[in-house]
Each structure stands twice: as structure tokens, then as C-alpha cells.
Subunit: 275 residues, 2 copies
């Protein structure tokens, strides 16, 4: 039985394509694991929607992933981690991990002067959850949050290196530069895709923290402790990575293939509101 | 019975706030009519989603509006008009009107040289529906469509008069300027809010067509023909305008109040996927 559970897939979800940056890290750090990814492309974005709505959507997705017998769920979306993770952990009986706690922990490890910036969606920043987690690790940290609502549409439009993205980034980040932070958390899974623009504006003195990397590290530790790591190489042709979306499978596949090392062979569309 | 139907409200829906520009026109042109507006703010935007998904969402909304005994349904969203209106008309038994046909008709009335541009979401432009309707009225019209996916997030962020919106508009519209069009259809209900930026770039030689105005004109004609116009002034305090959304009622109310002449006293949140 235990052996069977170890070989079960890891469930990963996001409002859309951003969580692929987290799935990519899991593939890198745990190459033997199977993954079932769900992107809620029919209802994307989550960042400007309410806690109640994001929680309802996340609950449906958790049910969908559990119907595929996942051994754990990774909430690869900062807004859903901020709003829904607590609720999901109460309701469902598999170990879960979000991206906020690992990102917060890493920020504290990296900062020297204790002044940390966090950028994310309106939902993530408004929830104050990064502040809470960062302060629980380092009580004297000074934290500045800034919502950057146009970054997601700009990334989705593919303007990763573009004067418009640069101009918008300059407006959002300008106030953070003046605040003498030395560490900036990319608190939305889309943002690593415009990391170089953000890095250029913030300058060499500011370390950018990408929670995707640290989330995969913590996931591995958590699965290890619970004896849930898969140590068997999946058989060839065993469908190691499966992708599901609530809309636009073809468009998702194209986007996914542009950022993933491993080919996203196919994506299936499901009706998520039925779960 | 007939009298009762005449006094029933007009149902209006959109993916979010854009359709308020249509509701506003109906209020202006038919001040005695009651309106029930629904904005699908939990699942906004529609413009980048598939026909199947937009149709499923629209069907739920039609059911919701009919549960409030509306006498007619106005599809105040170009993407839903393009993808779902035909289907809704087959399924439901009230007269319906979309924004595409009135917009197309008005463009033909306005053009002198027969060269018409249409801007809208990926869904609206990709569907080719404006071409179809415009050609059915004027077979020799030459039509150029251009999807402008960043306009909706820019409008929703309130950047109505902003150098970034201007720069993005210049990129989208540049190719239309070179094509010698004399008429441009604002084929998305958000776009009238950045009309002045678009007008500045297109220049005085190009007439901008806002389908909201013409939709209200045609709605009035349709209701008149079917003896469905309300000729009784609604009693004071009779809740003439009601607003429903699927998420974020407070945020919706603020936005709505910034563009409506009449105060949006309140907005209620409902679970649209249950309809």
C-alpha cells in the first residue's frame, strides 16, 4: 500500500500558466516524481478576486486532483496560497504546501539589512500573509508590499522584454527602490518570467527571491519526512506529466512548451465547476 | 398579463464592468425601463477564452436573468455576442439583442470609402463575426480586424489617460492607420472608456463607432415592435436598477459609480455557476 502511495503523482495547481514555473522546479529537483498539473484557465486571473471566490475555486480543484489520487497538493499560486491554503488543509486529508511560506523563509535567509520588499497580486499583497510569515521567522523584519496588477496580463501577452513592461515596472518598483530594501520576493508565479526586467530596475544590490525554487526544496523535505518520495523510476511511456486546464488546452500547451524543458505532450480540458 | 410583461425589467449582462457603458445608454434612451445588470466578475475576462466556455457561462447568466423574469436580454459583451448569442436565442424564449449587429450596421452607415477597422478581444476578432455582419449589409466593404488584448486590463487599472495606454494603442492601431480606413468600430464594451486616446491616435479623419449607442436604439425599436416598451413611470423606490455580480460587489460598485450618471446604490454577489 505504502509503495503505491509513494508512486502516486504530485498534484500542482494554479489559476493558469504561472504555476508551471513551480512544476518546472519540481521536475528539476525530483525527476522521479509524477505530476498532475491543473491550470484554471477558464477563470484566470485570481489576483483581483475575493477570498471567498478564490477559496471556492481552489476547493473544486483540490477535489479534482484528489479524484486522480494525488499523494500531495502543491498550491502553486500565491493568491490561492494566501487565501485558500488554510481552508484546504482543514478539509482535505493529504499533505499540502503553498508557495508563500517557502518564499517568506527564503527572504529572511537572504536579507542582510532586514528590509524586504514583496510584490504580488492585489489579493496576495492585500492579505498581508507575507508580512505574517516573514515576521514569524524574523520579528524585526521591515516589510514593504506592493501590488503589481498589470504584470500578469503583460506576461500573458508575452511582453517579457519590452519598453512597456519596463515602464510599468519602473512605476510599481520606484517606491521600493527608495526604501532601501536588499531583498525582493517575486510573490506571484508569473513574475519569474520578467525577472530580468525587475532585476535591471532594482539593481545589483537587491536579491530577487523566487519562491518556486524554495517550494520544491520544502516539498522534497516534507515528502521525505513522511516517506512519500518516489524512489522508483517511472516506466517509459507511463505518462509522467499530465496537464489539465479548464479552457483553451491548445493555447496552454503552446505557452507551456515555451517555458518548460520537457515537452508538454498534451493538455486536456475539463469542467472544473463540476468538482 | 401583457401590461405586466411590459413593466418587467430588461436583463443586461457582460463579463464584468464593460457592459455598464451599454446599460448607461439604455438608461439615457429609455428612462422608464427597469434594468437588471449582471457582471461575471468571478470569471472575467471572456475575451481570451474559448467559444465553448463563453457559451457555457452565458447560458448560466441567461438562466439567472430569466429567474428574475426579464422581458428581454441584452448581451452587452462583444465576445459573448460573437460566441454565444445564436445559441442563447435557440435555447431561450425571450427576445435578445447583442452589441455586434448594431455596431456593424452603424459602421456601414458611417463609412464613406467602405474601409472599416474593427478592434476587440481575441475572441471577437478571431470569430470574424463583425466581417460577416458588415458584409451582409454592404458586400463590398473592406474590413480590417485587430485584437487588442491589453486594452481591457489597462482600462480596469484605470489608466484611461496614460502614456502606457497611448504607447500600447499606438502599436495596436499603427497598422490600421496605414490601411486608409475611415471608420473604426470599438468592438469591446471597455473601449469607449479610452475613446479619447484611440481618437487622438486615429486622427480626425476616422469616425469611431461605439456599438453601445446603436444597441440601445435597436433595443428600443425591437421592444416597440413587440409592444414591450414600458410606458409607466416606475414608482419611486421601486428598485429601478439592480446590479448583480459573481464576485467583488464593493469593487464593482466603486467602478460603476465612476462611470454611471445614476448612483449604483448597491450590488449583490451571487454564485452564478449554480444557475
Amino acid at each position: 500500500m505504502k509503495e503505491e502511495i509513494r508512486q502516486a503523482p504530485i498534484g500542482v495547481f494554479d489559476s493558469g500558466v504561472g504555476g508551471l514555473t513551480v512544476a518546472r522546479e519540481i521536475m528539476r529537483q525530483m525527476p522521479k516524481e509524477k505530476i498532475i498539473y491543473f491550470g484554471d484557465t477558464a477563470r484566470v486571473p485570481y489576483g483581483s478576486k475575493s477570498k471567498e471566490t478564490v477559496t471556492r475555486f481552489s476547493r473544486q480543484i483540490a477535489r479534482f486532483l484528489l479524484s486522480h489520487d494525488v499523494k500531495t497538493i502543491v498550491v502553486a499560486c500565491n493568491t490561492a496560497s494566501a487565501y485558500a491554503l488554510d481552508e484546504l488543509e482543514k478539509e482535505f486529508d493529504v499533505p499540502m504546501i503553498g508557495v508563500v511560506k517557502p518564499g517568506a523563509k527564503m527572504a529572511v535567509t537572504r536579507t542582510r539589512n532586514g528590509r524586504i520588499g514583496v510584490i504580488g497580486t492585489e489579493g496576495t499583497i492585500g492579505s498581508g500573509i507575507y508580512n505574517e510569515y516573514i515576521r514569524s521567522v524574523r520579528a524585526d523584519a521591515v516589510i514593504y508590499g506592493k501590488a503589481c496588477p498589470l504584470f500578469v496580463p503583460l506576461v500573458e501577452e508575452g511582453l517579457w522584454e519590452d519598453p512597456v513592461t519596463e515602464e510599468i515596472a519602473r512605476r510599481y518598483l520606484g517606491e521600493l527602490i527608495d526604501l532601501d530594501i536588499d531583498t525582493l520576493v517575486l510573490g506571484c508565479t508569473h513574475y519569474p518570467l520578467i525577472r530580468s526586467v525587475i532585476g535591471r530596475i532594482m539593481g545589483d544590490g537587491v536579491t530577487l527571491v523566487n519562491p518556486a525554487y524554495e517550494t520544491a526544496v520544502e516539498l522534497k523535505a516534507m515528502l521525505g519526512e513522511q516517506h512519500l518520495l518516489n524512489d522508483v523510476e517511472p516506466a517509459l511511456g507511463s505518462n509522467r506529466y499530465q496537464f489539465y486546464v479548464s479552457d483553451g488546452a491548445e493555447k496552454f500547451k503552446q505557452f507551456a512548451n515555451s517555458i518548460m524543458k520537457y515537452g508538454v505532450l498534451s493538455a486536456k480540458t475539463i469542467h472544473i465547476e463540476e468538482y
